[in-house]
């Protein structure tokens, strides 16, 4: 009987059973950042512990960094204290830190793959729920809390119970103007924001096979928005091609040997799944969220549902969402005025996202009065975009082109919504208050849809806006 990638990786990394019945799981690589690690280092000090395998942890700074001026000390003294604390901790415990001057800084889930630290068949943990992004390479990657960051620092292991595996098969051809972001928003809308609780999601099928690695990252990234802690895609030739030559990948003969192993880690054709769900790509259209959780989405040509037409379990949340968003059931989002366009986040701030949108932004202008910001996911992304002239296209269109960081996805730095501004956002969460203003309103969509919203000043079907592109 065949095994899934999840079970193969789990079995290889299991140290043994713990007294409470959970598994002690070895973590191949831990990634840390400034928000969820300082307390973990503090706990190590309190307990007199060391970092067991310092070479297996990598750090960067992303959540709190300003994206406009980077001169230290930062104006925000709290943010400044956080970067200094991380610097101190990495130096004291011997952890590699992709600091701002390194040229390798960026959002942790973009830096890992970029550096070739993220590899197939391994286990990855990070104190951030979007760690599932790394599953795009066939790694099993967990978002964890700070006490578990401490556990992994101290022992390179953590206590966890095995997950069930749901195969999400996507078949058929995506229509023009429909992107990976639309696929995952549609999956979450269909299976629910807690439909994945207890599961690892294996994304498979011809449509997923046809996606680029960066598109697969967008899909795996938002697994947690569907309740699944882990999401992954089986590694294939595209995976190996993407990784070859990256700084932390094996070289020469070691590379060849690694690829042989990585091929074996993919789910067997006769693997048994706990559940299988099938989606038809041709049925998916550009999707925009209208509510306060990522499952509250509609196709751009649909109307916002009335709570009564939704399943009973979704009604109270839908009512709350309509009230907060100041939208009415039956209303279409197309034509809804926006104030802010945010292009960034670990979901959609990779080179291919900027390249795709730049095709449409070239020669166009952001609508008057719209605050449009573009935030590359890493200094590496920023550099490549500059070499390709992509930054120039964004700037000429009227986007404010920034330095790398998480930025307005969660508004921990100065990039925040003001009042009840409506933001067309390429990020991953539309929770109340998510983008830094308690009353701010977030509409999640694909990067190209963000570009369309920016140039029209309203939510718009990018396929129509850019029809002549």
């Amino acid at each position: 009987m065949g095994k899934t990638l999840f079970h193969k990786v789990w079995d290889r990394h299991a140290v043994g059973k713990l007294p409470d019945g959970s598994t002690q799981l070895f973590i191949g690589t831990q990634l840390i950042h400034e928000v969820t690690s300082p307390q973990a280092f503090g706990m190590l000090r309190d307990l007199g512990l060391k970092v067991a395998f310092p070479k297996r942890t990598f750090a960067t700074v992303d959540h709190i960094v300003p994206t406009d001026q980077r001169v230290e000390p930062f104006k925000d003294t709290l943010a400044d204290a956080m970067i200094k604390e991380l610097r101190k901790n990495c130096s004291e415990f011997g952890v590699t830190f992709f600091d701002i001057p390194s040229g390798k800084q960026g959002i942790v889930h973009i830096v890992g793959p970029e550096q070739g630290i993220t590899q197939p068949g391994t286990t990855i943990a990070c104190g951030d729920s979007h760690t599932s992004t790394h599953g795009a390479f066939g790694a099993v990657a967990f978002g964890i809390g700070t006490s578990q960051v401490r556990d992994v620092l101290a022992t390179q292991t953590m206590a966890i119970s095995p997950l069930k595996v749901r195969k999400i098969e996507v078949r058929g051809k995506l229509g023009p103007g429909v992107y990976a972001k639309d696929i995952i928003l549609h999956i979450i809308r269909t299976l629910g924001v807690n439909g994945g609780t207890g599961y690892a999601y294996e994304y498979a099928g011809p449509t997923i096979d046809g996606l680029s690695i960066e598109e697969r990252m967008t899909i795996c990234n938002m697994s947690i928005e569907g309740g699944a802690r882990v999401g992954y895609v089986n590694p294939d030739e595209k995976t190996f091609e993407y990784l070859k030559g990256r700084p932390y990948c094996p070289k020469g003969k070691d590379w060849d040997a690694a690829v042989v192993e990585w091929r074996k880690v993919a789910s067997d054709p006769d693997a048994i799944y706990d559940d299988v769900k099938v989606f038809e790509a041709s049925e998916i259209r550009p999707t925009v969220t209208w509510g306060i959780n990522p499952g509250q989405g509609i196709f751009i040509d649909e109307a916002i549902p009335s709570p009564e037409e939704l399943p009973e379990a979704d009604r109270s949340s839908a009512k709350e969402a309509l009230e907060f968003m100041k939208f009415k059931a039956g209303q279409k989002l197309a034509g809804q005025k926006i104030q802010v366009a945010f292009f960034g986040s670990c979901t959609n701030a990779r080179v291919s996202d900027f390249v795709e949108a730049s095709k449409f932004l070239k020669g166009r202008k952001v609508a008057p009065g719209i605050r449009a910001i573009a935030v590359p996911g890493s200094q590496g992304v920023s550099k490549i975009c500059a070499e390709m002239g992509i930054d120039k296209i964004f700037r000429e269109a009227g986007f404010d082109w920034r330095e790398a960081g998480c930025s307005m996805c969660l508004g921990m730095n100065p990039d925040q919504l003001v009042g009840d501004e409506i933001c067309a956002s390429s990020s991953n969460r539309n929770f109340k208050g998510r983008q830094g203003s308690p009353t701010g309103r977030t509409l999640l969509m694909s990067p190209v849809m963000v570009a369309a919203a920016a140039v029209t000043g309203e939510v718009a079907d990018a396929r129509k806006v850019f029809a002549k592109a």
């Binding site: 019945g21 002690q24 104190g127 809390g145 700070t146 578990q148 101290a154 807690n194 959780n293 009353t439």
Partner: protein
Amino acid sequence: MPGRFLPRPDMSLSPIKKVTGRAVPVEGDDIDTDRIIPARYMRCVTFDGLGEFLFRDIRQSSDGKPTNHPIDQAKFKGSTILVSGMNFGCGSSREHAPQAIVRAGFKAVIAGNFAEIFFGNSTTLGLPCVAAKKEDLQALTQIISSEPNTEVEIDLEKLQVKAGKLSFPVTMKASAQQGLLSGRYDAIADLLANLPKVKELAARLG
């Protein structure tokens, strides 16, 4: 911080078999971690003082005025059990969320169900999260709203909640229940004990 936030220096923990106290309803489904503690209040290098920011954006209007959130209502003052709806704690992996709950004085959460990472983070801190059926949650909310002095008891061995005449079963993942009952809910000591085995495995994996 000593005691309940960290294992003691010898890493022993007291078993948690029962939680009793008054309870406050925080109604609604999908109460996410951004709502439990907004990201801008996580600009800190310790968890100290996070209790103050629990549910900050829904306890205050944008001009800083209190919204009369249940947590701030006189009748619920001193409550140690939170009662909420489905998918509680969804969203980010920030341990700041259960830390804020614990530091605001809460000792347990009863909800419809819990997001996975939040659940694990909470248990590790010794904050039991038990899941109840919708109708039981509604009945409980009704009782504590009309009689806020009702003592609510969560029996973690029997997985049963009592509040006045009301009594209903709850569920909890077996390993978490086992961890709380045996005082091993923070795994660090057990993980450290196997360090020699971990080193062997690390060498094998390369």
